[in-house]
């Protein structure tokens, strides 16, 4: 982090304020209407009324998970883009989320999660870690835009079909319906158990990624100069790999794949960060929280009855951006 200048500071304050507003909106969104003052008093109430249960056990964990997962996705996107020096890099596009989902699916449907619940985030983490390493193996860490995207597409589709395979072979007849959850992501009906399950690895992952800011700034000048500025490239690589695996891995293990957050958010905030990858990290984290909260509110507003999947909304917002970035980078490739 070079200089948290006035512009970045102002935007951070604004984004944090927005998080509060959206959190309240998120708490007030659901099939049953509850007025705002009831919601706020419900947060502190000890009584076992159905309103309190709805707020404390259903909506609050959902809002908290939006915040945690949004932070992980926004930050991971910015960190990956900074590290690979490629604005198209995103956990969803390069296959990290897909492999995290595969890991979580294997662990969950094999019944391991019923034995030890921590197995679920561990599965997600392992999947994410394998994908990052696989990507490095397939494309190399400083390869061109196209190679990384191609490798990512290959990993994503492999992970997607393996996920579907595992779900089809799962002994439970509901498993096949749940392909939608894993591939499109949702935060519906999650509970505090999920919050507890992922909070520590997620915070550690986020912490690790936030420490890479200065190194990512240095990498702006290429690997040799970054190294000559005193940064250990191997250490940066492993910090990123472990950080992404922790953050994205555990996030996906409870929410399924929520795509494009890591793509859109850093892209929108880059001008505010004056293109510095370091300062973009905390900004993207805040931005990711906002986008995920907003998308999860939208999901509940637009769909009556059975909910739209969250990933559909983020993909609808995100894919035009992706196309725009592809067109923009096409001129670079030629």
């Amino acid at each position: 982090m070079i200089k948290f200048d006035r512009k970045a500071l102002l935007w951070s304050v604004l984004l944090i304020f927005l998080i509060f507003v959206l959190s309240l909106l998120s708490l007030s969104q659901g099939p049953t209407f509850l007025p705002l003052d009831t919601i706020i008093s419900s947060l502190y109430s000890q009584a076992n009324t159905s309103t309190n249960i709805i707020i404390q056990e259903i909506r609050l964990p959902r809002t908290l998970l939006s915040i945690m997962i949004g932070a992980a996705l926004g930050l991971s996107g910015a960190a990956l883009q900074g590290y690979l020096r490629n604005p198209l890099a995103e956990p969803g596009i390069i296959g990290v989320s897909g492999c995290a989902a595969l890991g979580a699916v294997i662990v969950f449907y094999s019944g391991l999660t019923s034995i030890i619940s921590i197995a679920l985030p561990l599965g997600g983490m392992a999947g994410a870690a394998i994908s990052v390493l696989l990507l490095g193996l397939l494309a190399g860490y400083k390869s061109s835009v196209m190679t990384i995207i191609l490798a990512g597409v290959a990993i994503t589709s492999l992970a997607g079909s393996l996920t579907s395979l595992v779900l089809s072979l799962a002994p439970n007849p509901f498993a096949t319906f749940e392909i939608f959850f894993w591939l499109l992501g949702s935060l519906a009906d999650r509970s505090f158990e999920h919050v507890k399950l992922i909070v520590f690895p997620l915070v550690i992952g986020i912490g690790l990624l936030l420490t890479t800011g200065r190194a990512l700034d240095a990498l702006t000048l290429g690997e040799d100069v970054a190294s000559s500025l005193g940064f250990n490239l191997q250490r940066i690589k492993w910090t990123i790999v472990i950080g992404i695996s922790l953050a994205v891995g555990v996030a996906v293990s409870v929410s399924g794949i929520i795509g494009f957050v890591g793509l859109v958010v850093p892209h929108l905030l880059r001008p505010i960060a004056d293109f510095r990858p370091g300062i973009l990290l905390p900004l993207s984290m805040l931005g990711g929280i906002n986008l995920t909260l907003a998308a999860d509110i939208l999901v509940r507003v637009v769909s009556q009855g059975p909910e739209l999947k969250l990933g559909i909304v983020t993909a609808l917002i995100g894919s035009p951006f992706f196309l725009y970035l592809v067109i923009k980078s096409r001129s670079k490739l030629q």
């Binding site: 159905s50 969950f108 439970n172 509901f174 009906d189």
Partner: protein
């Protein structure tokens, strides 16, 4: 004893006649019945002679959704595929009206006799299906007895009718709930409960958000223990802590607020519907205290 010659002749003619009648009877009713639908499997087990059945679906082996898993083991199972049925050469194939449609189409093209059954969405629907199947396979008496047995339990005079009707919501995996024009709804109503989901959902079934269930706060949540032993997110919804809180307990079973009615009693329309009714009546009495 020596009979007069013409008498002998008459007896002979009678024998010939009887044999003719008998053989024509046996010929008219199917001897090799295959079923490619779980619900027609279940009806077959209740009505048909065991030696007339040649194949049922693999689903009938599952004790959670089948009432006759042990009997099912004696038969060749199919997966609702035409190929599996063709070489068995059945003289009657039972199918659901809305399942295995392509198999049904092919089998009909190949000239097989197919009887398609509507899924029962009411007690009357069960009667119709039983009557039709028992006539088809030449066991109308058994069918009538079965219907009588159900009618006895579902007699309007036996209907629980208290001034205070406890509220209930059916809430299965993924929040699957049932409303108007469903078999379950009729059973719930007959047991003296009111299904308050029926005004909240659009069709006869829907997925209810957990939050809505908690807001409705029914006296009784009716669920099943379907596939609890293998993990699924759908089933995990029933383990959501919010549900635990609303019912005031950690484990759902045996608590007055949650009735666990096995899926096999009422996922298909057959005589086991009376078991579902009996259980719900007990719950109704407990909840109404």
């Amino acid at each position: 004893m020596r009979l007069p010659c013409n008498c002998n002749n008459i007896l002979g003619l009678w024998l010939v006649f009887l044999v003719f009648i008998f053989s024509s009877n046996v010929y008219a009713y199917p001897k090799r019945i295959a079923s490619i639908n779980l619900c027609t499997d279940q009806l077959l087990f209740e009505i048909a002679a065991p030696n007339k059945i040649i194949s049922i679906t693999y689903l009938s082996l599952d004790p959670e959704i089948s009432n006759h898993p042990k009997r099912a083991k004696k038969y060749r199972v199919n997966h609702g595929l035409a190929e599996e049925i063709v070489h068995l050469n059945p003289d009657l194939i039972l199918a659901g009206k809305y399942s295995s449609l392509s198999a049904t189409k092919i089998l009909r093209k190949l000239g097989f006799e197919i009887a398609e059954f509507e899924p029962a969405v009411s007690i009357d629907g069960i009667y119709k299906n039983i009557e039709r199947l028992s006539n088809l396979i030449g066991r109308p008496n058994i069918g009538r007895k079965l219907i009588q047995k159900i009618k006895h339990k579902f007699n309007p005079d036996n209907m629980e009718n208290h001034a205070k009707k406890p509220t209930a919501v059916i809430f299965k995996a993924r929040g699957f709930t049932l409303g108007k024009n469903s078999l379950a709804n009729e059973v719930v109503l007959h047991s003296g409960l009111t299904n308050i989901a029926q005004d909240k959902i659009r069709g006869s079934f829907d997925y209810m958000p957990l939050e809505q269930l908690i807001a409705l706060n029914p006296d009784l949540i009716i669920t099943d223990a379907f596939n609890e032993n293998s993990p699924s997110l759908s089933q995990n919804l029933l383990k959501h802590p919010a549900l635990g809180k609303i019912t005031q307990i950690g484990s759902r079973e045996n608590h007055p607020n949650v009735a666990v009615v096995p899926a096999r009693y009422w996922n298909c329309g057959n005589s086991f519907i009376t078991h579902a009714l009996a259980q719900l009546k007990n719950w109704q009495i407990k909840v109404n205290k």
